[in-house]
Amino acid sequence: MPDDVTNGSGGGERPLRAVLAEDQALLRVGLTRILESGAVSVVEAVDNAPSLTRALARDDIDIAVVDVRLPPTHTTEGLEAAVAVRAARPGFPVLVLSQWVEPLYARDLLAGGEGSVGYLLKDRVADVDAFLAAVRQVADGGTVLDPEVVASLVSARGRPLDRLTDREREVLTLMAEGRSNAAIAARLVVTEKAVGKHTNNIFTKLDLPQASDDNRRVLAVLAWLDGQ
């Protein structure tokens, strides 16, 4: 959905260098192709956790795209490697992909509070332009969360959200997914100014600290949703 895309994915963006960790050959090839089609060169594609840890030590990469589940134990090695690399290199951009999403894992990833992090279902990769935009957003310090994670967080909060209007809840959800005002406006077919009004209302009603930049705004919303 190109109108969701803030950075645009046409030609001319800055080339990125990525490490890709995905144990399924079929998906590794698909992801490499898609990333390369968006001027993200895959400098190393690995299929297991130890190789990923080695690759993440490289200093010539801009972002890591990592599958949660990797050999040898096929549990959450990818996620752990992502958390570890962000502990060692705060703010290092990591986009975590998974065949299913778990809000608990999202919390692990967001715990540092630095941004430059994404957590998406593998299904989202099929929307190639949106996926590439997400990669860039993460590489540029943004936060991208899968709508499914946000939806489960929103539904878990339940009653406190009654204070918001339907439209405000929609805006909140899109904010939590990491979208900018412009992207939200395009998505809801309203003006950017209207979105700005909604976000102000949300921040007031939920008693959240006003945040100027998009990323801090996402984190504030997510922290609130996560019940911190």
């Binding site: 399924q24 079929l26 998906l27 698909g30 992801l31 192709r33 898609i34 089609s37 589940r69 096929h74 065949q99 593998k122 299904d123 990769v125 099929a126 929307d127 190639v128 332009d129 996926f131």
Partner: protein
């Protein structure tokens, strides 16, 4: 009872009304007299073993000899009492279980010490003395009564004169007594043996609870492992392929204007991947609950298994629809056995037979391969575990050189 089949020697004893006298009853008493003779004869080995047991106990603490002797005597006692349990069990129409404490896992030399603490073994010893004394007398009586006229006849012929009279007077009552006392005596003996040799009801139940606990734990382990396997199969198979289809189609969508040829290639790839994703899903479904089993029951499903095997398999399975969990366990058990035939046996042909008598499901998988199947191999252990969950069991006969026969039995009562 049909006229063509002779009554088996150890058919259950019925206390019939002794009168009127009939051919059937005469035959039955003949049979029971033979049984009584067997019981009486066993008094001899019983006495020998009883004495040897005492020797073991005396020598045991002092010398290692006692332990070594025990290693010979106790199994012999177990063998003899096993014969009695089987015979008396058949005569009563109910199995008599020994209820020994399991010692197969212990080192040979330690076993006698454990045997000493096993009440079932002590009951055996008690039985030996009974068999050599009271039991001997009890079982000799029918034989003695029946043969008494012969004895008197010999005396009469040898003595001549008035002893003829004695023969006539004493033979009648002896035969009459034989007619009346033989069935109750044999039955009494069998009942006594059950009381002495059978494990107590509490011990039986304890053993059963222990077994049920074990098999429940194993079943839980097994099903947890199955669920993990299914999750892995889906994650690595169909789910990954469908995700990859999404990626190919997504990229094709992006390339369709700028590079239509590349887009077409991606779409072709995506189409092929959907085919393999469906294949994956089908095989996962087969691994959970094969559609043919749901549609045709065990008989059809086993035939389907046989068709898929590279070895010719003759199938003689005539089983009605059974409860689904039993069908499923039996199906996967047969599937594993047949997979073993294909993988390991180097067989030229195999066969599957199956029957159900309203009470027990019986299945046999055999092949003419080179044998030597290991019942402790993971596949067969899995089969045993599946069946154990239903109180069933697996017996594997696989001598080196073959043939291999796997017999499976599952109790299953349909109402």
């Amino acid at each position: 009872m049909t006229d063509f089949e002779p009554m088996p020697l150890l058919a259950p004893v019925h206390l019939d009304h002794p009168l009127p006298v009939s051919g059937d009853k005469l035959l039955d008493r003949w049979r029971l007299t033979l049984v009584a003779a067997g019981y009486a004869l066993s008094g001899v080995p019983s006495l020998v073993l009883a004495i040897l047991t005492v020797l073991c106990l005396c020598l045991g603490p002092a010398l290692g000899v006692g332990v070594l002797l025990a290693l010979l005597v106790f199994p012999a006692v177990a063998g003899l009492t096993h014969l009695h349990r089987t015979a008396s069990g058949r005569l009563l129409g109910r199995e008599i279980s020994a209820g020994y404490v399991e010692t197969a896992h212990l080192p040979t030399l330690v076993r006698p010490i454990r045997w000493l603490r096993d009440p079932a073994r002590w009951r055996n010893v008690g039985f030996l003395w009974f068999s050599a004394t009271g039991g001997f007398a009890m079982s000799l009586l029918p034989v003695a009564l029946l043969t008494m006229p012969v004895t008197w006849f010999i005396i009469a012929v040898a003595g001549g004169g008035w002893t003829w009279l004695l023969f006539l007077v004493l033979s009648g009552p002896a035969l009459a007594a034989w007619w009346f006392v033989t069935p109750p005596l044999v039955r009494a003996r069998a009942l006594t043996e059950r009381a002495m040799l059978g494990s107590s009801r509490v011990a039986d139940l304890e053993q059963r609870v222990e077994h049920v606990e074990e098999s429940r734990a194993e079943t839980l382990d097994h099903s947890a492992a199955e669920v993990r396997r299914i999750e892995r199969d889906l994650h690595d198979g169909a789910q990954a392929r469908i995700a990859s289809v999404g990626m190919s189609v997504g990229l094709a969508e992006k390339l369709v204007r700028t590079d239509p040829e590349a887009a077409a290639a991606l779409l072709r790839e995506a189409r092929e991947t959907t085919v393999s994703a469906l294949d994956d899903l089908r095989s996962v479904v087969r691994g959970i609950h094969p559609p043919v089993l749901a549609d045709r029951g065990l008989s059809g499903a086993v035939e389907a298994l046989a068709l898929a095997l590279p070895v010719p398999v003759s199938v003689a399975v005539d089983i009605p629809r059974l409860p689904e969990p039993v069908e499923s366990a039996a199906y996967f058990a047969v599937a594993e056995c047949l997979a073993n035939v294909a993988k390991h046996a180097h067989a030229a042909r195999a066969w599957v037979t199956g029957s159900y008598d309203g009470d027990r499901l019986r299945l046999t998988v055999g092949d003419d391969g080179h044998g030597g199947a290991d019942p402790r191999g993971s596949g067969l252990v899995g089969v045993a575990r599946r069946l154990d969950a239903f109180d069933g069991n697996l017996r594997v006969h696989s001598p080196a050189g073959g043939p291999t026969v796997c017999e499976m039995e599952v109790p299953c009562r349909t109402t």
